[in-house]
Amino acid sequence: MQYLMSVFGPAEMSEFGSYPDRESMVQALADTGAFNEKLQAEGHWVYANGLASATSSTVVDGRVDPPVVTDGPYLESKEYLGGFWIIEATDLDQALDLAAQGSKACRGKVEVRPFQPLSE
């Protein structure tokens, strides 16, 4: 099964992102990099990346003509999606185990959500 592992972070970022100082940011990035390599080596990796700040997002409504373009983000919140992994795991237990490792590496809570199963 495939799972989306989302990491949320505060709307306001310092120059060190959501981390208190440069040292912890560098360490978290290194740990996350190592975790990503592990995902790849063990065949769980589908895709992962970090997002630019939520204030850089734009909302498009193409259901009308011409499409309406507005400044994002789509939902107002104190915390926004900051990055995510898409992983391949045999079941939720394995996904939760990987999420715990990812959470530890990136120093953030991780939400694990399954993708719809592929139709047969």
């Binding site: 065949g43 391949e88 045999t90 079941d91 939720l92 237990d93 399954p114 719809q116």
Partner: protein, 390 residues
């Protein structure tokens, strides 16, 4: 290659078959497509894909099986045997930590306990429709999120067993002292069901100390059930209970289990310590015969395992018997910030203040306890004690 795949997928058959399939594919393709730049890497990647495909096919079969189990209607309980293995896996699935706690309790009673939706709805004072939806949502999550239908891995087992015991203890406690005012104050059907399921999990994990401790705790508590309500429907506290009405067979079995754990020499978890405390109570002919220093020593052990304010409150009740109500009251008063909204905190204070002759303060504490108590039998008991104050 077989070893690395086996290590990764935890299944030697899959590793062997996937490797063989990868070589067969190579024999087929390489003459036509040419040998890839990194033949070893190509073989590993191909074998890995084959293994994942195979696991997916098998997983689908498991899923179908699990779904069939989840939708089946309750069958009468089978005798111990192969079916129990499935029942245990089902119990772990129903008590999975990814489900909300109230869903775990409802699903366990429905799927493993075989209670009907109306019965569970009544037990938790929820509308039948709402309870049916809660159970359906939980089943949907099991399917959609891929909650596995199998025994947890060895590394996860202690935490997962603890999760199952937590659910069973909730069911038991709701039966032993119902939280709401609109049901019977003591409900034998829930305590019996919790004991039955704990016996089941013990028959499958006989060496797990906490499972044994939980069963002993339930048995030693259940043994006193008949003595806990007076003929007028009032709660009877331990010191006033007719010990002749206690169930001697349950006490004997509970004591045997506690002895078994003591003889194991393994460090005791919280359920084992709670069982030991109840073993001390049920060994005494009357309240004055109780070995209170032993009870306090066990509570000290429990505080080290579980430093929660509720454990500290229960310890203080035992301290009152050993060192007097004044020492106990000082300990209880320190818990005010944490337990001000808890009826047992005020009931304990009320009793200690009464014993110290501080009637006005005692009355105020009884008032708070009665306000906060949901259980009708307990409220009736507290009201009588308050009205007896001079």
């Amino acid at each position: 290659m077989v070893a690395s795949l086996a290590k990764r997928f935890g299944d030697l058959d899959i590793a062997e078959e996937a490797t063989a399939e990868a070589f067969a594919t190579a024999v087929e393709r390489w003459p036509a497509d040419g040998i890839p730049p990194n033949p070893g890497g190509w073989l590993t990647t191909t074998a890995t894909r084959k293994a994942i495909d195979r696991i997916r096919r098998e997983k689908k079969r498991d899923d179908k099986y699990r779904e069939a189990l989840l939708v089946m209607d309750h069958e009468p309980l089978e005798p111990l045997g192969a079916i129990d293995d499935e029942r245990l896996r089902l119990l772990f699935t129903c008590c999975h930590p990814a489900l909300a706690l109230d869903s775990r309790v409802a699903l366990t009673l429905r799927m493993v306990g075989g209670l009907t939706v109306p019965e569970i709805a009544r037990a938790f004072l929820v509308q039948e429709g709402a309870m049916a939806r809660r159970i359906t949502r939980a089943k949907d999550k099991i399917r959609d999120a891929g909650i596995p239908f199998r025994m947890p891995s060895a590394g996860d087992l202690p935490v997962r067993v603890d999760g199952v015991l937590n659910v069973l203890f909730l069911v038991f406690n709701e039966g032993y002292l119902a939280t709401g005012p609109d049901t019977d104050p003591v409900r034998a059907e829930l305590t019996a069901e919790a004991i039955r399921l704990t016996r089941l999990i013990r028959s499958l994990l006989p060496r797990d100390g906490e499972v044994t401790g939980m069963l002993a705790l339930m048995l030693l508590t259940e043994a006193r059930r008949a003595a806990r309500l007076s003929s007028s429907g009032e709660l009877v506290t331990l010191d006033d209970q007719d010990r002749g009405a206690w169930d001697a067979a349950l006490i004997r079995e509970g004591h045997e289990l506690v002895r078994e754990r003591l003889n194991s020499g393994e460090p005791a978890g919280r359920y084992q310590v709670l069982a030991a405390i109840n073993a001390v109570h049920t060994s005494a002919r009357d309240i004055r015969d109780t070995d209170w220093s032993q009870v306090v020593a066990l509570y000290d052990q429990l505080v080290a395992l579980d430093p929660s304010p509720i454990v500290a409150l229960n310890r203080a009740v035992a301290v009152a018997e050993l060192d007097g109500p004044e020492v106990a009251l000082a300990a209880v008063d320190r818990l005010e910030a944490a337990l001000d909204g808890y009826h047992a905190y005020h009931a304990t204070r009320a009793d200690l203040l009464r014993r110290l002759g501080r009637s006005a303060e005692s009355r105020a504490a009884y008032d708070r306890a009665i306000d906060l108590a949901g259980n009708t039998a307990e409220a009736a008991y507290l009201t009588r004690r308050r009205d007896q104050l001079g």
